[in-house]
């Protein structure tokens, strides 16, 4: 790397331009989030004048305090965590269970099974037929609507399968001679070896389920079952949750603190996005790996 860089020395001017453009791009990506953040912690009076651009004026965390008292926020947070955990665990299980037998050369009908897996990658029923099937299966307005369909992804199964195939067959044969059953070989030999690919799949599933709002919007009209993203949608997009109407106590608190709905909304954005912002830089190598694996297969 350093070698290459030494060769490619160029003019100063080009350097200056490149760095300047990149810094501008960086500002464009980071500023909106920063703006939301400084507005959410600023003094309510200053925030109301909307003249805060570069740094927070005053420090008021009362909007966050109000958020913590909102029960439906916590409930939807909890729902999201339940969905994320169960989907991720199930996704890993289904991937391994389906990918392992396909790597056995002795499996009868392997060609047929491969076609069975490939068809859903290119053809899908689309929104309406899927909705009808889900309703007929009794999954409408049922927490399983969030868990069953997203526990399976043909793409991930194929990724997992490709990885399993790189594990030498001799290992399995040796274990077979020692009298191991297939399920034992899978859990005790293949699973520990496949950790890298399982990490990639797990991380993609976590972010996917965490950010998913369309599926719950279609299948979960019951607000008690809805995940965080739908709660956020009600507050941020439809704007039909007025905090001053939630309770008399909250209204009084808001009036006393001169908090605006806007500030509370911004606090909510920060509060719900913070986990992802802090976590993604550490996991980004897995994401990059996922993109690479995907492109190799495609």
């Amino acid at each position: 790397m350093t070698h290459k860089n030494r060769i490619r020395e160029g003019s100063r001017l080009a350097d200056v331009i490149i760095y300047a453009v990149l810094i501008i791009i960086c500002l464009v990506t980071l500023y909106p989030m920063y703006y939301v953040f400084i507005l959410s912690i600023s003094d309510p009076l200053e925030a109301a004048s909307m003249k805060i651009y570069l740094y927070p004026k005053g420090l008021y965390l009362n909007s966050y305090k109000m958020l913590f008292q909102d029960n439906s926020l916590w409930r939807s947070y909890l729902n999201t965590i339940v969905y994320v955990v169960s989907d991720t665990v199930l996704m890993l299980i289904t991937c391994c269970l389906c990918a392992y037998p396909l790597t056995c050369k002795k499996l009868i009908g392997r060609k047929f099974l491969t076609i069975f897996l490939l068809i859903p990658m290119y053809f899908s029923g689309g929104l309406i037929p899927t909705y009808l099937v889900m309703t007929k299966l009794g999954l409408y307005n049922n927490i399983w609507a969030m868990i069953v369909p997203s526990a399976i992804n043909v793409w991930n199964i194929i990724l997992c399968h490709t990885y399993f195939r790189s594990i030498p067959e001799d290992m399995r044969e040796a274990a077979k001679i020692d009298g191991a059953r297939h399920i034992q070989i899978l859990t005790q030999i293949y699973l520990p070896l496949a950790k890298p690919i399982l990490a990639v799949i797990a991380i993609y599933t976590v972010v996917g389920v965490w950010n998913d709002w369309f599926r719950p919007m279609v299948y979960l009209p019951n607000e008690a079952l809805q995940p965080l993203q739908l709660y956020l949608r009600r507050v941020l997009v439809q704007q039909n949750v007025d905090f001053s109407q939630v309770s008399a106590e909250a209204a009084e608190a808001m009036a006393r603190q001169k908090l605006s709905n806007l500030q509370i909304r911004y606090s909510m954005i920060i509060f719900t996005t913070l986990p992802i912002i802090f976590v993604y830089p550490f996991f980004q190598k897995y994401f990059v790996k996922g993109v690479m694996l995907g492109s190799l297969k495609g």
Binding site: M1, H3, I7, R8, G10, S11, A14, D15, I18, L22, I25, T29, L30, M33, M50, T94, L97, C98, Y100, P101, L102, K106, I108, L117, I119, P120, S124, G125, G126, L127, I128, T130, L132, V133, L137, V148, I152, V154, I157, R181, H182, I183, L186, N211, W213, L232, R233, V235, L236, V237, R265, I269, T273, I276, I277, Y280, Q284, F287, S295, G298
Partner: protein, 319 residues
């Protein structure tokens, strides 16, 4: 040779095709997969079968296919209705235009970004910019839409800046002419960093010797970029372009659903949002299933067309 072959055939016939051991092993393997196969069948194949309702007058509670019950087959009625419907032209125009804007203004941004980043020698700075550029990808669509809607509000930051430069504040969130701009900017902002990953990794695998020889031939930095880096990522560009063209009718329904409102339907309503509204909220299942099939067929044709052209022009293609 022939006799040996015959012998083998005879032997093969006499032996059962699979040994008992093999059958037991296969049962074991199939039992491991069975739950997953059933799930795939339920979640992927049943909806495919459900597409049949596009050719019927389906009402909820009816069977999708049965020999005993009476099913009202209507052939291509729903397709014809859609094409002759009053929203057909608007929907197709909006869908194609929004995707086209996205392609025109969004496709080259990741490439330029990757080319610039590739020139940075300061590793820490490079890493920081790269990580920062991924951030929007991880923020959920709901939060992004919420932020955008509050920015373009009458009292939002965008209008404040417009006023600062001497303009007049306008209600941007209900203005049909502003919607494509807002949508395109949001979409490009959300995805450019992520889309640059593939280009960057392709660039990092370019042989440094190529740059060295280019320098010996007197190529400056820009020329190295133009004659070495760009040709090396051309296959990747071609493939990404084919995929982008294939997605023209599948514009980002998610984001549009969050950003649009009744006032902006004239420029914001696309096939995906129309299916959602008329199908799920309006209950016209058969009709919207037909609309769905219509758009997938065109998508398929577009991918094949784009692939054909790319094969002819650059010799790179998906298949």
């Amino acid at each position: 040779m022939q006799t040996a072959g015959n012998m083998e055939k005879v032997l093969h016939k006499r032996r059962p095709k699979y040994t008992r051991e093999q059958i037991y092993e296969n049962i074991e393997l199939y039992l491991i997969m069975l739950p997953v196969l059933i799930l795939i069948f339920m979640m992927c194949y049943l909806p495919l079968y459900g597409l049949l309702i596009a050719f019927q007058d389906y009402t909820p509670g009816m069977a999708i296919f049965s020999l005993t019950e009476n099913i009202r087959w209507v052939g291509l009625k729903h397709f014809v209705n859609f094409i002759n419907g009053k929203y057909f032209v608007r929907l197709i125009t909006n869908t194609i235009l929004l995707s086209l804007y996205n392609l025109i203004f969004g496709f080259w941004v990741p490439i330029v970004f990757a080319l610039l980043l590739n020139e940075v020698r300061h590793m820490k700075f490079k890493k920081f910019v790269q990580t920062a550029s991924y951030l929007p990808y991880f923020i959920s669509a709901v939060v992004v839409a919420g932020m955008v809607l509050s920015f373009i509000d009458m009292s939002g930051i965008v209008n404040k800046i417009i006023v600062l430069f001497g303009g007049t504040a306008t209600p941007l969130n209900t203005s049909p002419s502003a919607f494509p701009v807002i949508y395109t900017i949001t979409n490009v902002w959300k995805s450019f960093g992520w889309n640059s990953i593939l280009y960057l990794s392709t660039m990092s695998s370019i042989d440094p010797a190529l740059y060295e020889s280019a320098r010996l031939d007197g190529a400056n930095r820009f020329k190295q970029m133009w004659y070495v880096t760009l040709p090396s990522i051309l296959p990747t560009i071609a493939i990404m372009l084919i995929m982008a063209v294939g997605g023209i009718l599948g514009s980002n329904t998610d984001l549009i659903l969050l950003l649009y409102n009744t006032a902006t339907y004239p420029t914001a309503d696309v096939i995906g949002t129309y299916i959602y509204r008329v199908g799920l909220e309006g209950g016209q299942f058969s009709y919207t299933a037909a609309v769905g099939i219509f758009s997938s067929v065109i998508n398929f044709a577009l991918v094949f067309g784009a692939n054909f052209i790319s094969n002819k022009l650059t010799n790179y293609g998906l298949f």
